[in-house]
Every structure is written in C-alpha cells, then in structure tokens.
Amino acid sequence: MLRVKLSIFCIFCGLFLFNACRQDMADQPSYRPLQPSNFFADGQASRPLVQGTVARGQLRDDVHLYTGKKEGQLVTTFPFTVDKTVVKRGQERFNIYCAPCHGQTGSGNGMIVQRGFKKAASYYDKEVREKSVGHYFDVITNGFGAMAGYSAQVNVRDRWAIIAYIRALQESQSGNVEPLPIETMTDFAPSGVVDPKKQNPLSGSTPKVEKKTEEKSESGGH
C-alpha cells in the first residue's frame, strides 16, 4: 500500500516538473505582424486595407506632394521648402535606396549594375538633368524602364528629399562654384591652400557668401 502511495506521490511531483513546458503565455492567440492564419482564405493574418481607407491625417489631398503633378502636368517646383536638413535626409535615403544601382555619385554604375542589371542613366547626362523634379518624382513612384517603382519603400516626403539631393549632386558636377558659401568652398580645395578671408581660388572672384547651395535645389527644374 505504501508503495502505491509513494508512486502516486512521485508521479504527482513529476507532473509539476513538466508544468513549465506549457508556453501559453509565450504563444498567445493574438497575431504578430505577417503571421500565418488558417482563418482567412489567403492564409495571412495581416489584412489588406479596405479600399478607400484613409488613416487620420493621411488624406492625400496635396496633389503636388503626392503625385508630382499639377493639373496633369509634371511640376517644376518642390512641394515644400528645401533646406539643409531635407538635403541631408535625401542623401541618407539616396544612399539606401538609389545608390545600389545609381552609385553613390549618381553616375549610374552602382553595385547591382556591376552585377548585371541594366545600366542606370547618369544624372549628369544633359537629357536627364533637364527633366523637371516632377519627372523624377514620377520615376521614383512608378518606376521607369527596368527600374521598379519605390513607392512601397520610400514615403513621399523622402522621395522629394531624394530629388533635392539629386539636384545637389547635379549641381556639384556643374563646375559652378559661384553660388557656394565660402565656408563650403574651402571643403573642395586642397587643405592649407585656401584662406577663406583672402580670396576664393576656385572661382577667382569675390564669392557671394549670402547665397546658399540649398536655395539652388529649391528652385526645382533647371
């Protein structure tokens, strides 16, 4: 009798040991992003938005900002003021999303192109330079030629920031240093050669300090 009691006790204790194996708290019935689900026919827990859904504050009423067009025409201006923060943001986003193909300098020879993708156009080709900012926005949004649209990866404001940076890149290759502020100009000269107080060795004329690079990009299409 004692033996029976003892073995029941042991089994009971043993059950306690295995208690910890239940993971109900760790695996709750709620869904995590992109988790599969048997409930829906497509097998996905994440549901597509019902058509026409507008999140608060995301009504796309700013046609200029969201489409790069005005009355069906590609715009030549930016939808918001472009300052240094915007250009910097554009540089960061450009290096993430564009540089793989277009290259960090925008010459169209990025790593993916080196691995066999169709060569991207150089931003410095006359034809490409002369396109309006609206055209660039349209290309980033909807794609162009072999390039896929990036609307899913880059939000609208970032797309405009990238365009601002592309304009800055194009300006950097124009050979025109006149609009640069003197403190920026010294960045492009060999160190020790330039004394910003004396003269500007790059343009040979008195620099117009009050003008800034950002203003150049703000004006949009050239």
Binding site: M25, A26, R32, P33, N95, P100, G116, F117, A152, Q153
Partner: protein
C-alpha cells in the same frame, strides 16, 4: 529478532540527505547555467531553414545593401518589416533570372502568394519590443543581431532571454552609438565608450535605469 539496520546506518541516513540536497542544488545550478542557456533550448546561433537560402552575407557584406533597403519600417515601427517579394524583384527581375535557386521568388511574384519566411527572432508574446525606439535612441542593429553581414544563413546571435535584455537596460551607456553609426555593421565601441555612452544617453534622453529595468517597461 535482529535489527535490520545496524546503528551506523544512522550516519549513512544523514549523509544521504546531505548528498541528495547537494545533488539537487548542483544539478539545478548546472541546469540553470548550462541547459537553459544552451543553444539547443534557445536556438541562438542555430541557422533556421528558410524557403530560400537567402544570404545576408552576400547581400549586405558583398553588395553593400543597407538594412533599410528591405527592412523599411525599422525606423518608425515596432516591426522592422519583412520585404515583400516585389523588393526581391527590384533586382532579380534582371539579375540571376534563370537561377533555379530563385524559382520560389519568381513563382511568388507571379502568383502573388508570399514566401513563407520562418521567424528567426521570436520573442515571447508577453514581452513588448519596439524596433524604432531602439534604433532611434542609439542601439545599433549589430548590438543585438550580431554581424549579419557575415551570416550566410540567418540565425539569431543572442538568446533573447530576459537576462540578455537586461544587460543593456542596466548599462545602456555600454552600447549606445551616434546616430550615423546605427546601421554600420563594422562599428566597435571606442576606447572611451563609457564617457561617450553617458553623453549619448543624455543626448538621446535615455530614461533612468530604474525605469529601463521596471517590469512594465517590457511587460505591458
């Protein structure tokens, strides 16, 4: 009738109690120190089988793609984002188009049925985690995920156990980086990390250690 147990069995009984206690204590210690933390249980550093043998080593280390090219929502959402097949096709519409290895990608793109990637970092549901707050406040990708640019197949570098989370939550200054280094896989803490980290903690407005290690910070 003679006694079954001679008198010296009293000592043996005492010793056996002590020995049993020791075995339980040591066994429990070993279990805690080794078994619970073993990669067999935590699956840390164990590559997970995926529908395609996607190599971060090739795409990040070799081609130099930024983490955010695919994990687009890491900066402004709790979930870093798994790229849709469309993102693969940005390049693979033209690169390696006949590769049999990429057949699942192409058929997924054609049918619109997503690839079933297996989750590598599966935090328990009772722990709250948000990517954006970490990458916006100085915690770099490689601090938690390891050198992903050197991983041919994906595994989780760390256990994701609570004690591992707390290492940083107790001493955030040891890992904090400047904003521009967050996505840099090569970043190593500088010699004066303690000083720099404290400055960064102030700059990022990192809350007090009491709040960072408070239960409800992670268990909401």
């Amino acid at each position: 009738m003679a006694q079954i147990f001679p008198k010296n069995f009293n000592n043996l009984a005492k010793i056996s109690i002590i020995v049993t206690a020791l075995v339980v204590a040591i066994g429990g210690g070993v279990f805690n120190l080794i078994v619970i933390r073993s990669s067999y249980l935590t699956q840390a550093q164990v590559a997970i089988e995926q529908p395609i043998q996607f190599s971060h080593k090739h795409h990040v280390g070799g081609l130099g793609l930024d983490c955010r090219y695919c994990h687009t929502s890491v900066e402004d959402s709790a979930f870093a984002g798994i790229p849709p097949t469309r993102t693969c096709m940005n390049c693979h519409s033209q690169v390696w188009v006949t590769s049999p290895m990429l057949e699942p990608v192409r058929s997924s793109f054609e049918t619109g049925k997503g690839l079933t990637w297996q989750r590598v970092h599966n935090l328990a549901d009772f722990a709250y985690f948000n990517h954006s707050i970490h990458v916006n406040k100085g915690v770099g990708c490689s601090s938690c995920h390891g050198k992903v640019d050197q991983m041919p197949l994906m595994w989780k570098e760390n256990t994701l156990q609570m004690e591992w989370c707390l290492q940083c939550h107790r001493n955030p200054e040891k890992v904090l980086r400047p904003k521009e280094e967050i996505f840099n896989m090569e970043w190593e803490p500088p010699a004066d990390q303690e000083v720099k980290g404290r400055e960064l903690a102030k700059q990022y407005n990192i809350p007090s250690k009491e709040l960072l290690t408070s239960c409800s910070t992670c268990h909401r």
